[in-house]
Symmetry: C3
Subunit: 261 residues, 3 copies
Amino acid sequence: MIPITLITDFGSKDYYVGAVKGVILQLAPDARIIDISHEIQPQNVLHGAFVLRHIIEWFPPGSVHIAVVDPGVGGRRKMLAARYGGRTVIAPDNGLVTYCQRELALEEVVFVQNTQYFLNRVSHTFHGRDVIAPVAAHVANGVPLSQLGPPAEQLELLQLANPEAQKDGGIEGRVVYVDHFGTLVTSISANHLAELYRRKLDVHVYVDEVEVGTVMQTYSDVAVGKPVALIGSADMLEVSVNCGRADAYFEVTPATRIVLK
Amino acid sequence: MIPITLITDFGSKDYYVGAVKGVILQLAPDARIIDISHEIQPQNVLHGAFVLRHIIEWFPPGSVHIAVVDPGVGGRRKMLAARYGGRTVIAPDNGLVTYCQRELALEEVVFVQNTQYFLNRVSHTFHGRDVIAPVAAHVANGVPLSQLGPPAEQLELLQLANPEAQKDGGIEGRVVYVDHFGTLVTSISANHLAELYRRKLDVHVYVDEVEVGTVMQTYSDVAVGKPVALIGSADMLEVSVNCGRADAYFEVTPATRIVLK
Amino acid sequence: MIPITLITDFGSKDYYVGAVKGVILQLAPDARIIDISHEIQPQNVLHGAFVLRHIIEWFPPGSVHIAVVDPGVGGRRKMLAARYGGRTVIAPDNGLVTYCQRELALEEVVFVQNTQYFLNRVSHTFHGRDVIAPVAAHVANGVPLSQLGPPAEQLELLQLANPEAQKDGGIEGRVVYVDHFGTLVTSISANHLAELYRRKLDVHVYVDEVEVGTVMQTYSDVAVGKPVALIGSADMLEVSVNCGRADAYFEVTPATRIVLK
């Protein structure tokens, strides 16, 4: 029973999720279908890439991971199958594996071109059902990636903003993600912070000009309603409000800077 | 491991979905429960009917499909079990099979009346848990439809508006569904369009008075932010905006006309 | 294939649900993961407690039930494992089992402390993934509760407001829950009502000063758009509007009183 996980921007009110699941079960009746999220923001490839990267390592090797955020469906974008630590991703080649490529060990990646693994009739607007679902089922059934198409030489990846060292010895990053609880996930990693601590014992976190304080361990290290900076479960610096919403507290915009100094 | 799929208007915050799943697993421990949607608009039978019709054919024969949008629960509406291409639907008899009846081959349909397949105690407000879930589990376990109740002579079906031929040789339809991406699914099918092409080489699509253009293949056939008409994955004419929302672009109302001429 | 069910306030757009599922499948590859709800209102323990209590009894004995609404994660709150009718709950000790404790027969309860059943590395902010998921997987694999930690002497429970007898012979309760359909679930149970009927033949229901009427059986016992009081599927008195929303009809606040007299 190979797990096949689903990350999509399909939402939850349409037939799209159901059609994908039906195709998988027709071709791989023993696969185990696992919903990760169907609430990726429509056409937001970066959002999908972030979720994919942070679920894949928790699944057993052999698992198959579908990611469908596909504004270029039916056009010239390619389809890829990539393997990291024994786990296979099937996704459009539009940046969905950006974080996986940066942070996980790639074992193999091909462009999916062999139409014998697609549905007989492929629509121009729903490759999740007509291409990705059947290919994922065949991979779960044991088809090797090399059968799907040629090795991929060059992938389409998103540009990720890295934190920048500042003249005063601090570092400046950005908010890369706001989660369901309003927590701000930043571009500053636990490694960045550890490096800063080697040079500086007393590090303070600022959201633009507003000081949050030093880096704490958990939410309840501050009073209810107060902001707190900590290393979150993705090993990135996060800014939260204990039992509240940091996105509302700080009125975050894409230009918001996260400064450590 | 027979798939039992769930389409409901229960939403995602209550105990309703969980209670249905628990009852199924008590009675059919090997069934495979597959969520399709719990976000059917409350009491919107047409919405549920559309989703049901467009997922059922993708599942393997033998699968069981629960649909619960049930404003008449506890009253005089009947319960049905219907089989199309080897797939069984269990639903209130209130129009949920309207699209299935119009477009799929019906093999058998009964009114579910045999209380030995219900829970011992049936509430007046939650037949999804007390009637539909146990009946679906028993069907997955091999109980024939003929054991559930008598053949259904006459079903309650919704009135569907068909597109109308116009004096100028064109056709006029309606928006029947707006999906998660804001795409307008119309009442005009690929067959209607093919027929029109036999009489007319140059077909243009209008949303009320606004011209969308000719029928394209996919979203990226137009620039980002521009509207596009195409045959979507349900084989119906759809109007989208490339990387945008057609429902916002056109300010769609129930009276909005889709005209081909 | 032991069912492991999930009730969380994680929402549906993040990696949190997926990471929990991956950890379970790594440790208990044959477990059957069942989504109940990920839309518990953030940090609303009472909401999670209500859903947990009303799904647990429908699952087969042996099932495992994860509940994660955990504002105190990483702080001093404990973790519990409790068994009711053969079904095991794994949850923070913060009141999530309040309704289970009041209404179900407790067989065993321990504080989960044995770190050999946790992930090797436990974060300060995501015990759902690092503690609860692996413990649930081990319980599904047959680890007895007594291996997880010492018997729990005293649990943290929420204060539940009981209905109050009135001088005029009636009773007064509160709205404890508003469901997806806008139905008001009250603190008055079917038992409270039965007791009242023993003293009084003609019972009328009021939302604050507004009369709803006598207690009916189902929604369609009143006209569309009209309010109706009935015993709902949780065996509690509920106030609904037939094909409408009672929460909008009555403008419910936390102070709203439900009066039977």
